[in-house]
């Protein structure tokens, strides 16, 4: 097959769904107009552990407009069959309104259904629940950890004992909440035993399978629709209990039900990045070459599920360390279960490793960039596999030059700008390249336009745009002639939009599908005696601007429209997909070098990021304009993680005390200076057919430690805790 010229891919297009989004016409979950829908509001638990002893719903039920109050006392028994598909962690997931047990603060205990949203909200405030409360444990230090995973190579303890330089540090990372701007919400509607859900999700198939499992109905009886997702950052990767509540209420009511969580409820019931305590020991020689690393991370999980995230990969593969030991523990607490948040595992681990590297550099008097270059491995020491691509050295070299790193005075507290102590810091970012099975369908219409679809999601990165670009090039059409559709379980299956795998997986599936469709058209033409292309070898035909033509003789050819019209065809269509190989003989990761400059007010301890630059080795960049936005967004997320974000729990009763956007601080516009992202040109065809390595996670990893290291350089104060607050610097 002759390769198609790549015109759309790599060009800085504006978002194809931009007009919908700037005019308010993009319909997010609870924006959908479902006729006859009534409103539901969840009542949540005001204790963290114990049982419900009574629920008085009479006041709520007699409130005008309240239609029904559902609690564990009147809810039907639900099936909750096992479901391996929907990202449920190991354990026993919460079953809504099935018993009187309270496992965490904010757990749903009732739902009020009413004719209007005002009435439902008021009704929810009238439900009087009494409890028998027990003392919850919500502090990471409150219970011993349970070993989850171990890893070892070499003899780490011996290597540490004989190391010329040693470091032994304990890090503490606050719990963070995803806090997408769109609260989770669902509209549920039954037609007999068929359920339709308009939901906020990064994984329509996950919601479909979970809803089917909860209600004990066939998977194909559930349709999930999710064309727009107002951010998620991981929170919508599994199906949380409110989805089942909406569907249950709709079934009980016999009409569609709309349920949106409040911002406050978002802190209790849709996951979070777990709190970490992380002991890290390193050993190195005097030249800064690492000889040993011992990792002992501990994070929180719930009393009913064991959360897993990729905490250990970085410590095994990032640097050339012969001796590594890792012990990962979880602490089971009376809290809701965590869920992957942007750069899961990697973001947390990278803070610890990269701050420790900075300390090592400082101790040895080696430049922090140079220290990292001295520890570049030639292969992945955890598997022995070669890297598919690893251009971290180039990231650092380009970044150092563009950032002006060479002008840096290595001495901490050496630069001042008025009241501000100024410092710069650097860190490595890294995230693994994942791929999963994905399918797509493409249809070329007689008018010369195409519709391509896959049950993918677009929570912000720009799936609509990037897939359109891939499809346009593979079909030889202009971007405006291709429409990509997503977010509906009636479409061919796609993996979750998580772990940065969507572009590699669905992008490769779209390319395969559109290649097949193009080839079908080419075969039709070369076999058609009336076609100017009759008799030409299919391999010699390319399609450019909707015209099939001989590669070396562009004058000989015809358009899709002519071809289909002459053959009396309304359309051509094709199914395709991508299945990653069972084993890939490469270690596949994206990399970045992150540079940050901060100012710290010498008297107030206030930290302000003054500028940042990140350089990425992320493979091929399909959509440069959107990729740039994603990178800047990752940096801003990292600034939040480094300096602001901190979910605070009152351990006396397990309540989150700052469960709102005024007290849980996220970056605002005035916190953010000019930021710059550079993607190294290149691609990685060993990773996947379209050569991408994934962006969404990578762009956040390494940001927090770069800032922490800049804070040290500015002030001479080393902080091992996130977020870095003014208190820590005074």
């Amino acid at each position: 097959m002759s390769p198609q010229p790549q015109k759309a891919v790599g060009s800085p297009l504006s978002r194809v769904d931009g007009r919908l989004k700037v005019t308010g016409q993009a319909d997010y979950a609870v924006d959908h107009d479902v006729p006859g829908a009534v409103h539901a509001v969840v009542v949540d638990s005001s204790i963290a552990l114990g049982r419900i002893t009574g629920i008085d719903t009479s006041a709520a039920e007699s409130h005008p407009g309240v239609l029904k109050v559902i609690t564990h006392r009147n809810a039907p028994r639900l099936v909750y069959r096992d479901n391996p598909v929907s990202n449920n962690p190991r354990g026993r997931r919460l079953r809504v309104f099935q018993d009187d047990q309270i496992l965490f603060f904010g757990q749903p205990v009732a739902v009020v259904v009413a004719t209007t949203i005002e009435t439902a909200q008021h009704g929810a405030s009238l439900v009087d629940v009494s409890y028998e409360a027990r003392q919850p444990t919500t502090d990471l230090a409150g219970r011993p950890g349970d070993p989850l995973l171990n890893y070892a190579r070499g003899d780490t303890e011996a290597a540490l004992a004989s190391a010329a330089v040693r470091l032994d540090r304990e890090f503490h990372l606050a719990r963070n909440h995803h806090n997408p701007m769109e609260p989770h919400g669902t509209i549920a509607s039954w037609d007999g035993d068929k359920l339709t859900l308009w939901d906020k999700t990064q994984y329509v198939i996950g919601v479909q399978n979970e809803a089917a499992a909860v209600f004990g109905i066939p998977v194909e009886n559930v349709r999930v629709i999710s064309p727009f997702v107002g951010g998620a950052f991981g929170s919508a990767l599994r199906t949380w209990p409110h989805v089942a509540i909406a569907a249950l209420a709709a079934r009980e009511m016999g009409c569609p039900v709309k349920l949106a969580l409040s911002r406050r409820q978002m802190y209790f019931t849709v996951g979070y990045r777990p709190r970490y305590q992380y002991r890290l020991r390193l050993g190195a020689d005097r030249q800064g070459r690492l000889t040993a690393m011992a990792h002992e991370p501990t994070y929180e999980t719930s009393n009913h599920e064991t959360f897993w995230e990729a905490t250990l990969f970085l410590g095994q593969m990032l640097y050339n360390v012969p001796n590594v030991s890792q012990t990962l523990r979880t602490v089971s607490l009376d809290v809701n279960t965590p869920l992957w948040m942007r750069g899961p595992g990697f973001s947390s681990t990278s803070f610890c490793i990269e701050v420790a590297m900075d300390e090592l550099a400082h101790e040895l008097g080696i430049d922090p960039v140079e220290l990292r270059l001295r520890n570049e491995p030639t292969k992945d020491l955890s598997t022995g596999l070669p890297f598919s691509t690893r251009r971290l050295r180039e990231c650092f070299q380009t970044g150092a030059q563009e950032f002006g790193w060479g002008r840096r005075n290595p001495k901490p507290r050496s630069t001042r700008d008025g009241d501000w102590l100024v410092g710069t810091g650097v860190a490595t970012g890294c995230y693994d390249t994942r791929r999963a099975r994905a399918e797509a369908h493409a249809r070329l219409d007689a008018g010369g336009t195409a519709v391509v679809q896959s049950a993918a999601s677009d929570a912000g990165p720009g799936t609509y745009t990037s897939m359109t670009q891939v499809a346009a090039d593979a079909l030889g059409l202009a971007v405006r002639e291709v429409e990509f559709r997503l977010g509906d379980t009636t479409m061919p299956p796609a993996p979750p939009q998580g772990a940065s795998q969507l572009m590699a997986s669905v992008g490769s599936a779209v390319q395969d599908t559109c290649d097949k469709l193009r080839l079908q058209a080419i075969r039709l033409a070369v076999g058609d005696q009336r076609s100017p292309l009759h008799g030409v070898r299919p391999d010699d035909v390319v399609v450019i601007a909707g015209r099939l033509q001989v590669k070396d003789k562009p004058a000989r050819g015809e358009t899709y429209r002519q071809l289909l019209a002459r053959n009396n065809l309304t359309h051509l269509e094709a199914n395709g997909g991508y299945t990653p190989p069972a084993e890939t003989p490469y270690s596949m990761y994206g990399y970045s070098a992150v540079f940050a400059e901060v100012g710290v007010d010498a008297r107030l301890g206030l930290v302000r990021v003054r500028r940042m630059l990140s350089v990425y080795d992320a493979g091929r960049i399909i959509s440069p304009k959107l990729a740039d936005s994603q990178a800047l967004g990752g940096m801003i997320g990292g600034i939040g993680m480094a300096l602001l974000e901190h979910t605070v729990t009152d351990h006396r009763d397990g309540r989150i005390v700052n469960a709102n956007l005024a007290d849980y601080l996220v970056p605002v516009n005035a916190d953010i200076p000019e930021l710059r992202a550079i993607y190294l040109d290149g691609d990685d065809r060993k990773a996947d057919p379209i050569g991408v390595k994934g962006l969404g996670e990578l762009v956040k990893v390494g940001v927090a430690p770069a800032i922490a290291n800049a804070v040290f350089h500015a002030t001479g104060r080393r902080v091992h805790e996130l977020p870095i607050t003014a208190e820590a610097l005074l």
Binding site: S14, R15, D17, G18, R19, K21, V22, T23, G24, Q25, A26, D27, Y28, D33, G36, V38, H39, S62, P64, G65, L67, T115, T116, I117, E118, T119, H122, P180, M181, E182, P183, F228, V229, G230, G231, A232, F233, A260, R263, A459, G460, G462, K625, L626, S629, Q630, L632, G633, M635, G637, N660, L661, A662, V666, V668, N669, A670, D671, I672, E674
Partner: protein, 205 residues
Amino acid sequence: MSTEPPAGESTGLTRRTFVATTVAVGGVVAAGELTAGASAFAAAPATAEPVPSTRVSVTVNGRQLTVTVDNRTSLLDLLREHLGLTGSKKGCNAGACGACTVLVDGRRVNGCLTLAVRLESAEVTTIEGVANGDRLHPLQQAFIDRDAFQCGYCTPGQIMSGLGCLREGHTGSAEEIREWMSGNLCRCGCYVKIVRAVEQAARWK
């Protein structure tokens, strides 16, 4: 700004608007232009006490409406749940995120913190009323040109806030824009580009 002439009470309303507004009073208060007719939801308790409600005349995107609203209704819920204008978003319902920003008499307000009953004679502009037919407002176009959004959920509020910022003349520098656009959170992290978009629109003015 929409130039659509006032529709003269209820005549310009869609069926959805009509029904939703009827539902707004639970089928109990049955007086007034928009509440005549049967309850949209038959299961509403017939014996219930009437919910305190008020008739309000308000202009939304150039269309004059008289609605009977439950006194608890926020401007945001009036728009979203009763008038079918879902472009304004609910991010926190507590005035902390700005996703519900709309213009009331030309000034930016948080729709979630504004009770609908206090809108008598007010003129409300929402994201749906910003473009002139198919022609986008320069700020909308600037948001697309500068890629000033990702998920798009905060975007209507950002644009309405940006319009306020432009009108107020707080666009003298990037720093000034940052400050005056800080009531609108963007979790995808598009701030750098939001500032560029407002700058672009300010230059166009």
